[in-house]
């Protein structure tokens, strides 16, 4: 679990890093929406777009995803379940009777779409500072009535900061418990109740420190944040991405 670093910012000065966070967020949503129910050719095209962004931003997206083995296991799981539950002719001329060709195709397509979204989100979080995410989310929420943009943006930003901390804490607690032989205990309630309290204790301590730090800095609804500056190239990149996604969906 320690390898799950999809939410960690990778410093850099590439075009992807320099892009206005609002446009990066919009690009992520556009790409994410384009994967909805897309066919295999569109999914392949979208993969190349996400992979190009990862290379252009010098984001080690593939290393992060390879480290996050749980994602890959989940994708394999989707293929296996789809193959088992979808009716149709069996693969390998009936050598594996419970696994259908149609299910294999379905499972591969669904996993591929998820993989594309995963790379795109790794590029977004890898190339955008937390303060940038905060400013962008706050900006998008501003025109929505009855919605406190500053609070929503702050909570989203804090959530992104907490995830790697919690994963590291959970990992170290599990490691300590493994060394004491807790893995051998069969009772799941016992195991959960031995994992959660120290995890909550440690994360609450962090939350407490963070609260006090924010209070001492007079954190308010209009905090000082990075200025947002849209450039012509940002519009150009977003329009290009939108056109490519739309084109892929039309051709699909």
């Amino acid at each position: 679990m320690a390898g799950v670093n999809l939410f960690v910012y990778t410093p850099g000065a590439t075009a992807v890093h320099r892009m206005d966070p609002r446009f990066k967020l919009a690009a992520l949503v556009v790409l994410s929406l384009a994967t909805v129910q897309c066919g295999p050719y569109a999914a392949l095209g979208l993969f190349f777009i996400a992979a190009f962004a990862a290379i252009a931003g010098k984001i080690p997206a593939f290393t992060m995803i390879r480290n996050a083995q749980v994602f890959l296991l989940f994708l394999v799981g989707i293929i296996l379940v789809r193959g088992a539950v979808t009716p149709g002719p069996a693969v390998f001329n009936g050598a594996i009777p419970w696994f259908s060709v149609n299910g294999l195709e379905d499972g591969l397509l669904i996993s591929w779409r998820l993989f594309v979204v995963l790379i795109a989100s790794a590029v977004f979080t890898g190339a955008t500072r937390t303060s940038g995410v905060f400013s962008a989310v706050r900006w998008y929420f501003k025109p929505i009535p009855f919605m406190d943009g500053a609070r929503a943006a702050m909570m989203l930003t804090l959530m992104m900061r907490f995830i790697p901390i919690i994963l590291d804490e959970a990992d170290s607690i599990k490691e300590a418990q493994r060394s004491r032989g807790l893995e051998n205990r069969k009772n799941p309630v016992y195991r959960i109740t031995r994992l959660i309290p120290p995890l909550m204790e440690r994360t609450f301590t962090r939350a407490q420190d963070l609260t006090l730090a924010l209070v001492s800095r007079n954190f308010g609804p209009n905090p000082t944040s990075r200025g947002l500056h849209a450039r012509k190239t940002d519009w150009l990149y977003l329009l290009l991405l939108f056109s490519l996604c739309a084109g892929l969906r039309v051709l699909d």
């Binding site: 679990m1 999809l6 939410f7 609002r22 967020l25 992520l28 949503v29 994410s32 929406l33 994967t35 909805v36 129910q37 996050a68 749980v70 994602f71 989940f74 799981g77 989707i78 998820l114 979204v117 795109a120 977004f124 979080t125 400013s135 609070r151 929503a152 702050m154 989203l156 804090l158 959530m159 907490f162 995830i163 901390i165 919690i166 994963l167 959970a170 799941p188 309630v189 959960i192 109740t193 994992l195 309290p197 909550m200 204790e201 994360t203 609450f204 939350a207 407490q208 963070l210 609260t211 924010l214 209070v215 007079n218 954190f219 308010g220 609804p221 209009n222 905090p223 000082t224 849209a230």
Partner: protein
């Protein structure tokens, strides 16, 4: 589209604490999707355990804010849903009903658990038991609401019969849910004590 934001007034300690705790619970929901405890054929994933916990410790409205932020992160494309899922596609699919249902469920859990609020700060054995009854009832009804919405949507979108929708979308997870409710019920007293220490810094 250019903007600079200046500093003005400040949030109160309570507002900031609730924001931080809401974000923390949202992060725990996201992390819970990756923490799997192998029990039988279906491993227990802790995501909905933290959704229930958010309702219990944050109450209905901050609990809903926490779940809302978690959903927003997923909609924006962050891989925070079960097994690294992300995007609007998760809501539009046959299993989207379970995700939608977290929001009314956390409100329901917060409201029912809040009825036993008078017993939360009382260390007497009888009061602890009464608080636990409210908490367990809240979690059972909250889980039932998640399944009512989730299984209905699964049935309508996948074209299953009620029997098959129950067999695929509910039956395999019931044992896990019982374990999670039992674990939450036994943990919540300690967690409320931790929160009390947190509040005492005010």
């Amino acid at each position: 589209m250019n903007e600079n934001i200046g500093e003005e007034n400040a949030f109160s300690f309570t507002q900031i604490r609730n924001m931080v705790l809401g974000a923390l619970m949202a992060a725990l929901m996201a992390v819970g999707a990756y923490i799997a405890i192998p029990v039988g054929p279906v491993p227990i994933v802790l995501q909905n355990m933290f959704v229930m916990m958010a309702g219990l410790i944050l109450g209905p409205w901050w609990g809903a804010a926490s779940v809302g932020i978690y959903m927003l992160a997923g909609i924006l494309g962050m891989p925070v849903f079960s097994g690294g899922g992300a995007g609007l596609v998760q809501f539009m699919g046959p299993t989207g009903g379970y995700l939608f249902a977290y929001l009314p469920a956390v409100v329901l859990i917060g409201l029912i658990s809040g009825q036993g609020k008078n017993y939360h700060d009382n260390p007497a054995a009888g009061a602890v038991t009464k608080a636990m009854v409210y908490d367990v009832l809240a979690m059972v009804l909250g889980s039932a609401l998640v399944y009512a919405i989730g299984v209905s949507r699964l049935k309508s979108m996948a074209g299953f019969s009620w029997g098959k929708a129950w067999a695929v979308g509910m039956a395999p997870f019931l044992i896990g849910d019982v374990i999670k409710i039992a674990a939450n019920a036994s943990l919540i007293v300690g967690i409320r004590n931790m929160l009390r220490r947190f509040k005492s810094d005010e």
